[in-house]
Amino acid sequence: MKNMLEIQNLSKSYKDFNLRDVSFTLPEGYIMGLIGPNGAGKTTIIKLVMSLLKKDAGRISIFGMDHRDHEVDIKSRIGFVYDNPNYYDHLSLRRIKNIIAPFYRTWDEGRFQQLVKQFNLPLNKALRKFSRGMVMKAAIAIALSHHADFIIMDEPTSGLDPIFRRELLDLLGEILQNEKKAVLFSTHITSDLEKIADYITLLINGRLVFSDTKDEVLAKFALVKGGRDIIGDIPLVGFKAHEYGFEGLTDNIQAVRKKYGSKVVLEKASLEDIMFYNNLGNNHAQFN
């Protein structure tokens, strides 16, 4: 199994933010969700991968090639959707398409027309009259129209209604029928997009918390609820105490069950829970 994306010890420093030593890989044929709260470094990573930013240290390879040495080759096989697609907003979608299409040798006009129709996008209306969701849809239509092998999407769900998000799931599922393709997307709100994610990478404060298959992540963590008296002993990643007890996240289900089996309630944790309590734990660690 070849790797679509390999990131090793990636670092990038800003005045007020550091991305520190991030490493993860995404194999061909799978979808990875890059999750984390705002300002965790998701967009920075995507911009580094797309070489919009210059990395301070580390290695990024896409399709097994260094991302800078083979920049043009790599980019011709990538479909990208940015959080803020900076199209010329006085132009219509048709014009934008006419500008972008010639850059891709594999541009498929039929596919584009079909997607535009499916997404209900007007071709002749100026983009400045588009809603945020429509601009996002336009970006997605453009990204999916040149048979890219690797789809990179930064916050693609922002501004999209649940109905279209489901449609997007179908589209991505269709792409993934080909096991030589892969998808990387970032999001700060856990949404239905994670349903189809194979891998989950959690970033908090510029630091990688974990990068693993979603099944493994969901099996590893559990919500724990119990009385306040045991907060100190119980192995928790992060917790929130209230007057009558606490709710927290553990990454050691076995130990908790063994030691506190009857004293606590163990529940399946959602990705949102996992993100929330990891972030909380990180903040606690910073204060202490």
Binding site: G29, Y30, L169, D170, G173, L176, A197, D198, K214, D215
Partner: protein, 154 residues
Amino acid sequence: MKLFIIYTVYTHITINTINTIVGEKSKPMKIIISNASPDPIYDQITRQIKNHIITGEMQEGDPLPSIRKLAKELQISVITTSRAYEELEKEGFIDTVGGKGCFVAMQNKELLKEKRRKTVEEILGDAVAEAKKLGIGLSELREMLELLFNYEDE
């Protein structure tokens, strides 16, 4: 030799055609995923396909949808689906034929029955344990069972 090759190719094509026709005609298997269930998704898939095989809804040699197709249809991850198929293969319910996909494996009918018996035993075991906790005796339990059994018959 030439004849042999032609023959092989011919049979191959025929079998494939039959497979597609049969595959299209046969009812798609039913799988329902519950996000509220405490069981992991792969387990839900495994259990439901197993059930289909045990009840005879899926017959020996029936093709299963490809991992990626199933993942797309159920809108779940590919890894989850392949894990489910792996479990099924490990337990001998399905065979993977390289390049062609997965098929329901040859089943030992007795073994299947035995497996199903085991499930019943397991569930009863749980019931017994719960009863013991509450101090329900064997006779009382037997009465309950009889009641339930007869009720189900009606």
